[in-house]
Protein backbone atom coordinates (compact mmCIF):
# COMPACT_ATOMS: atom_id res chain seq x y z
CA UNK A 1 0.00 0.00 0.00
CA UNK A 2 1.48 3.40 -0.96
CA UNK A 3 1.89 6.15 1.65
CA UNK A 4 -0.92 8.22 0.13
CA UNK A 5 -3.41 5.34 0.36
CA UNK A 6 -2.35 4.71 3.94
CA UNK A 7 -2.98 8.36 4.83
CA UNK A 8 -6.33 8.45 2.99
CA UNK A 9 -7.60 5.19 4.48
CA UNK A 10 -6.52 6.11 8.01
CA UNK A 11 -8.16 9.53 7.67
CA UNK A 12 -11.30 7.76 6.40
CA UNK A 13 -11.21 5.54 9.51
CA UNK A 14 -11.04 8.63 11.74
CA UNK A 15 -14.08 10.11 9.95
CA UNK A 16 -15.82 6.74 10.38
CA UNK A 17 -15.25 6.79 14.14
CA UNK A 18 -16.16 10.46 14.60
CA UNK A 19 -19.16 10.22 12.23
CA UNK A 20 -20.52 7.19 14.08
CA UNK A 21 -19.99 8.93 17.42
CA UNK A 22 -22.06 11.90 16.25
CA UNK A 23 -24.69 9.50 14.88
CA UNK A 24 -24.68 7.69 18.22
CA UNK A 25 -25.26 10.97 20.06
CA UNK A 26 -28.16 11.79 17.72
CA UNK A 27 -29.71 8.35 18.22
CA UNK A 28 -29.23 8.53 21.98
CA UNK A 29 -30.87 11.96 21.98
CA UNK A 30 -33.80 10.56 20.01
CA UNK A 31 -34.37 7.93 22.71
CA UNK A 32 -33.19 9.73 25.84
CA UNK A 33 -33.13 13.49 25.19
CA UNK A 34 -29.85 15.16 26.11
CA UNK A 35 -29.86 18.58 24.46
CA UNK A 36 -31.69 20.01 21.41
CA UNK A 37 -28.34 21.50 20.40
CA UNK A 38 -27.30 18.00 19.30
CA UNK A 39 -29.62 18.19 16.30
CA UNK A 40 -27.15 20.59 14.66
CA UNK A 41 -24.81 17.59 14.28
CA UNK A 42 -26.98 15.80 11.73
CA UNK A 43 -25.38 17.37 8.64
CA UNK A 44 -21.91 16.76 10.05
CA UNK A 45 -22.82 13.09 10.63
CA UNK A 46 -23.92 12.70 7.00
CA UNK A 47 -20.91 14.48 5.44
CA UNK A 48 -18.38 12.66 7.63
CA UNK A 49 -19.79 9.23 6.81
CA UNK A 50 -20.73 9.67 3.16
CA UNK A 51 -17.76 11.72 1.99
CA UNK A 52 -15.10 11.51 4.71
CA UNK A 53 -15.49 7.76 5.17
CA UNK A 54 -17.09 6.08 2.14
CA UNK A 55 -15.82 8.27 -0.70
CA UNK A 56 -12.34 8.73 0.78
CA UNK A 57 -11.97 4.99 1.45
CA UNK A 58 -12.89 4.32 -2.18
CA UNK A 59 -10.36 6.92 -3.44
CA UNK A 60 -7.58 5.60 -1.22
CA UNK A 61 -8.24 1.98 -2.17
CA UNK A 62 -8.54 2.77 -5.88
CA UNK A 63 -5.23 4.64 -5.87
CA UNK A 64 -3.67 1.57 -4.24
CA UNK A 65 -5.12 -1.27 -6.36
CA UNK A 66 -5.91 0.11 -9.82
CA UNK A 67 -3.54 -1.15 -12.55
CA UNK A 68 -0.19 0.68 -12.70
CA UNK A 69 0.81 2.74 -15.71
CA UNK A 70 4.13 1.11 -16.45
CA UNK A 71 6.49 -1.66 -15.40
CA UNK A 72 8.07 0.51 -12.70
CA UNK A 73 4.73 0.60 -10.93
CA UNK A 74 3.92 4.27 -11.58
CA UNK A 75 0.54 5.34 -10.24
CA UNK A 76 0.34 8.59 -12.19
CA UNK A 77 0.81 12.08 -10.79
CA UNK A 78 0.72 11.60 -7.03
CA UNK A 79 0.53 15.37 -6.43
CA UNK A 80 -2.95 15.38 -7.94
CA UNK A 81 -4.18 12.80 -5.46
CA UNK A 82 -2.57 14.65 -2.55
CA UNK A 83 -4.46 17.71 -3.78
CA UNK A 84 -7.62 15.57 -3.87
CA UNK A 85 -6.91 14.47 -0.28
CA UNK A 86 -6.53 18.05 0.94
CA UNK A 87 -9.60 19.35 -0.87
CA UNK A 88 -11.82 16.43 0.12
CA UNK A 89 -10.99 16.71 3.81
CA UNK A 90 -11.18 20.50 3.74
CA UNK A 91 -14.65 20.13 2.22
CA UNK A 92 -15.76 17.65 4.88
CA UNK A 93 -14.50 19.92 7.66
CA UNK A 94 -16.29 22.98 6.28
CA UNK A 95 -19.52 21.08 5.58
CA UNK A 96 -19.41 19.44 9.01
CA UNK A 97 -18.78 22.69 10.88
CA UNK A 98 -21.32 24.77 8.98
CA UNK A 99 -24.44 24.09 11.07
CA UNK A 100 -22.50 24.41 14.29
CA UNK A 101 -20.96 27.72 13.14
CA UNK A 102 -24.39 28.98 12.10
CA UNK A 103 -25.72 28.30 15.60
CA UNK A 104 -22.73 29.93 17.28
CA UNK A 105 -22.08 32.88 14.97
CA UNK A 106 -25.38 33.34 13.13
CA UNK A 107 -25.80 33.85 9.40
CA UNK A 108 -23.79 36.22 7.19
CA UNK A 109 -20.28 35.34 6.06
CA UNK A 110 -20.85 31.81 7.37
CA UNK A 111 -22.87 31.22 4.20
CA UNK A 112 -19.61 30.93 2.29
CA UNK A 113 -18.75 27.67 4.10
CA UNK A 114 -21.10 25.28 2.25
CA UNK A 115 -20.27 27.02 -1.05
CA UNK A 116 -16.58 26.48 -0.47
CA UNK A 117 -17.22 22.91 0.71
CA UNK A 118 -19.10 22.16 -2.51
CA UNK A 119 -16.29 23.62 -4.64
CA UNK A 120 -13.69 21.63 -2.69
CA UNK A 121 -15.68 18.40 -3.21
CA UNK A 122 -15.84 19.14 -6.92
CA UNK A 123 -12.13 19.94 -7.14
CA UNK A 124 -11.24 16.79 -5.21
CA UNK A 125 -13.35 14.67 -7.51
CA UNK A 126 -11.83 16.17 -10.66
CA UNK A 127 -8.29 15.65 -9.30
CA UNK A 128 -9.13 12.02 -8.47
CA UNK A 129 -10.71 11.38 -11.87
CA UNK A 130 -7.73 12.81 -13.77
CA UNK A 131 -5.45 10.39 -11.91
CA UNK A 132 -7.75 7.37 -12.00
CA UNK A 133 -9.07 7.55 -15.57
CA UNK A 134 -5.92 6.37 -17.41
CA UNK A 135 -5.50 3.58 -14.85
CA UNK A 136 -8.89 1.99 -15.59
CA UNK A 137 -7.43 -0.50 -18.07
CA UNK A 138 -7.15 -4.25 -18.29
CA UNK A 139 -4.23 -5.86 -16.48
CA UNK A 140 -1.44 -6.69 -18.90
CA UNK A 141 2.09 -7.96 -18.85
CA UNK A 142 4.57 -5.12 -18.95
CA UNK A 143 8.20 -5.40 -20.05
CA UNK A 144 10.71 -5.39 -17.19
CA UNK A 145 12.29 -1.96 -16.62
CA UNK A 146 15.88 -1.57 -17.83
Amino acid sequence: MPRLSQVMIRTALIWLGVGFTLGGLLLWHQGVPLSPWLLTLRQAHVHMLLVGWTVQLAYGTAFWIFPRLDARGTRGDVRLVWLCYGMLNGGVLLAALYDLARVLVGTGWIGVMPVLAGLLYLGATIAFLVNAWPRVISFRTLPRPE
Binding site: M1, Q6, L13, L16, T21, G24, L27, G31, V32, T54
Partner: protein, 141 residues
Amino acid sequence: MYIQARYFIRTALIYLLIAFLVGGLVLINQGLQLHNRIGVLLPVFYHLLMVGWATQLICGVALWMFPVYSKEQPRGDERLGWFTYGTLNVGLLLRAFFEPLHIWVGGWGWTLALSALLQVSAIWVFVIAIWPRVKIRSRKG
Protein backbone atom coordinates in the same frame (compact mmCIF):
# COMPACT_ATOMS: atom_id res chain seq x y z
CA MET B 1 -12.08 -16.07 2.37
CA TYR B 2 -11.79 -16.79 6.09
CA ILE B 3 -14.79 -17.43 8.31
CA GLN B 4 -15.06 -14.00 9.97
CA ALA B 5 -15.13 -12.21 6.61
CA ARG B 6 -17.79 -14.64 5.40
CA TYR B 7 -19.99 -13.77 8.38
CA PHE B 8 -19.59 -10.04 7.77
CA ILE B 9 -20.24 -10.27 4.03
CA ARG B 10 -23.17 -12.70 4.15
CA THR B 11 -24.82 -10.67 6.91
CA ALA B 12 -24.27 -7.55 4.79
CA LEU B 13 -26.02 -9.28 1.89
CA ILE B 14 -29.00 -10.13 4.11
CA TYR B 15 -29.20 -6.48 5.20
CA LEU B 16 -29.10 -5.42 1.56
CA LEU B 17 -32.23 -7.45 0.88
CA ILE B 18 -34.01 -6.29 4.06
CA ALA B 19 -33.04 -2.65 3.38
CA PHE B 20 -34.62 -2.70 -0.05
CA LEU B 21 -37.72 -4.47 1.26
CA VAL B 22 -38.13 -1.65 3.79
CA GLY B 23 -37.16 1.01 1.24
CA GLY B 24 -39.56 -0.46 -1.31
CA LEU B 25 -42.36 -0.43 1.27
CA VAL B 26 -41.64 3.23 2.09
CA LEU B 27 -41.75 4.15 -1.61
CA ILE B 28 -44.93 2.16 -2.24
CA ASN B 29 -46.48 3.90 0.74
CA GLN B 30 -45.47 7.29 -0.64
CA GLY B 31 -47.35 6.51 -3.82
CA LEU B 32 -50.37 4.61 -2.49
CA GLN B 33 -50.61 5.99 1.09
CA LEU B 34 -51.14 2.56 2.64
CA HIS B 35 -50.65 3.72 6.21
CA ASN B 36 -49.35 6.95 7.72
CA ARG B 37 -47.12 5.04 10.16
CA ILE B 38 -44.97 3.50 7.42
CA GLY B 39 -43.24 6.81 6.65
CA VAL B 40 -41.22 6.62 9.88
CA LEU B 41 -39.32 3.66 8.41
CA LEU B 42 -37.30 5.97 6.13
CA PRO B 43 -34.35 6.45 8.55
CA VAL B 44 -34.44 2.69 9.24
CA PHE B 45 -34.05 2.10 5.48
CA TYR B 46 -31.06 4.51 5.31
CA HIS B 47 -29.30 2.84 8.23
CA LEU B 48 -30.00 -0.74 7.15
CA LEU B 49 -28.43 0.19 3.81
CA MET B 50 -25.49 2.30 4.97
CA VAL B 51 -24.61 0.51 8.21
CA GLY B 52 -25.95 -3.02 7.68
CA TRP B 53 -24.91 -3.30 4.04
CA ALA B 54 -22.23 -0.79 3.05
CA THR B 55 -20.25 -0.41 6.28
CA GLN B 56 -20.50 -4.07 7.21
CA LEU B 57 -19.42 -5.15 3.72
CA ILE B 58 -16.43 -2.78 3.87
CA CYS B 59 -15.49 -4.11 7.33
CA GLY B 60 -15.62 -7.70 6.08
CA VAL B 61 -13.61 -7.05 2.93
CA ALA B 62 -11.04 -4.93 4.80
CA LEU B 63 -10.54 -7.58 7.49
CA TRP B 64 -10.11 -10.15 4.71
CA MET B 65 -7.94 -8.30 2.21
CA PHE B 66 -5.91 -5.58 3.93
CA PRO B 67 -2.18 -6.23 4.43
CA VAL B 68 -1.48 -8.86 7.09
CA TYR B 69 -0.76 -7.80 10.65
CA SER B 70 2.13 -10.25 11.15
CA LYS B 71 3.20 -13.69 9.99
CA GLU B 72 2.06 -15.24 13.28
CA GLN B 73 -1.22 -13.29 13.45
CA PRO B 74 -2.09 -12.37 9.86
CA ARG B 75 -5.35 -10.69 10.87
CA GLY B 76 -4.31 -9.42 14.28
CA ASP B 77 -6.54 -10.16 17.25
CA GLU B 78 -9.63 -11.73 15.65
CA ARG B 79 -11.64 -11.19 18.84
CA LEU B 80 -11.83 -7.50 17.93
CA GLY B 81 -13.49 -8.41 14.62
CA TRP B 82 -16.01 -10.65 16.39
CA PHE B 83 -16.75 -7.91 18.91
CA THR B 84 -17.43 -5.51 16.03
CA TYR B 85 -19.64 -8.05 14.29
CA GLY B 86 -21.72 -8.76 17.39
CA THR B 87 -22.17 -5.23 18.68
CA LEU B 88 -22.75 -3.67 15.25
CA ASN B 89 -25.52 -6.13 14.40
CA VAL B 90 -27.20 -6.17 17.80
CA GLY B 91 -27.08 -2.36 17.84
CA LEU B 92 -28.48 -2.05 14.33
CA LEU B 93 -31.27 -4.58 14.97
CA LEU B 94 -32.25 -2.72 18.15
CA ARG B 95 -32.48 0.46 16.13
CA ALA B 96 -34.42 -1.14 13.30
CA PHE B 97 -37.07 -2.53 15.67
CA PHE B 98 -37.30 0.08 18.37
CA GLU B 99 -36.85 3.36 16.51
CA PRO B 100 -40.23 3.04 14.77
CA LEU B 101 -41.79 1.44 17.85
CA HIS B 102 -40.58 4.35 20.00
CA ILE B 103 -42.10 6.84 17.55
CA TRP B 104 -45.38 4.91 17.30
CA VAL B 105 -46.04 4.06 20.95
CA GLY B 106 -43.22 5.64 23.00
CA GLY B 107 -41.47 4.21 26.05
CA TRP B 108 -38.60 2.50 24.26
CA GLY B 109 -36.07 5.35 24.35
CA TRP B 110 -33.54 3.44 26.42
CA THR B 111 -33.19 0.83 23.65
CA LEU B 112 -32.11 3.57 21.24
CA ALA B 113 -29.48 4.76 23.73
CA LEU B 114 -28.26 1.18 24.06
CA SER B 115 -28.24 0.78 20.28
CA ALA B 116 -26.15 3.95 19.94
CA LEU B 117 -23.67 2.73 22.52
CA LEU B 118 -23.32 -0.66 20.83
CA GLN B 119 -22.83 0.72 17.31
CA VAL B 120 -20.32 3.37 18.36
CA SER B 121 -18.34 0.77 20.34
CA ALA B 122 -18.41 -1.57 17.34
CA ILE B 123 -16.97 1.02 15.01
CA TRP B 124 -14.19 2.24 17.31
CA VAL B 125 -13.14 -1.36 17.97
CA PHE B 126 -13.10 -1.97 14.21
CA VAL B 127 -10.91 1.14 13.76
CA ILE B 128 -8.52 -0.20 16.43
CA ALA B 129 -8.49 -3.64 14.77
CA ILE B 130 -7.82 -2.45 11.23
CA TRP B 131 -5.54 0.54 11.96
CA PRO B 132 -2.24 -1.38 12.17
CA ARG B 133 -3.11 -3.24 8.95
CA VAL B 134 -3.36 0.00 6.96
CA LYS B 135 0.33 -0.01 6.32
CA ILE B 136 2.92 0.41 3.64
CA ARG B 137 4.20 -2.94 2.35
CA SER B 138 7.62 -3.68 3.79
CA ARG B 139 10.04 -4.79 1.10
CA LYS B 140 12.34 -7.67 1.96
CA GLY B 141 16.01 -7.62 1.14
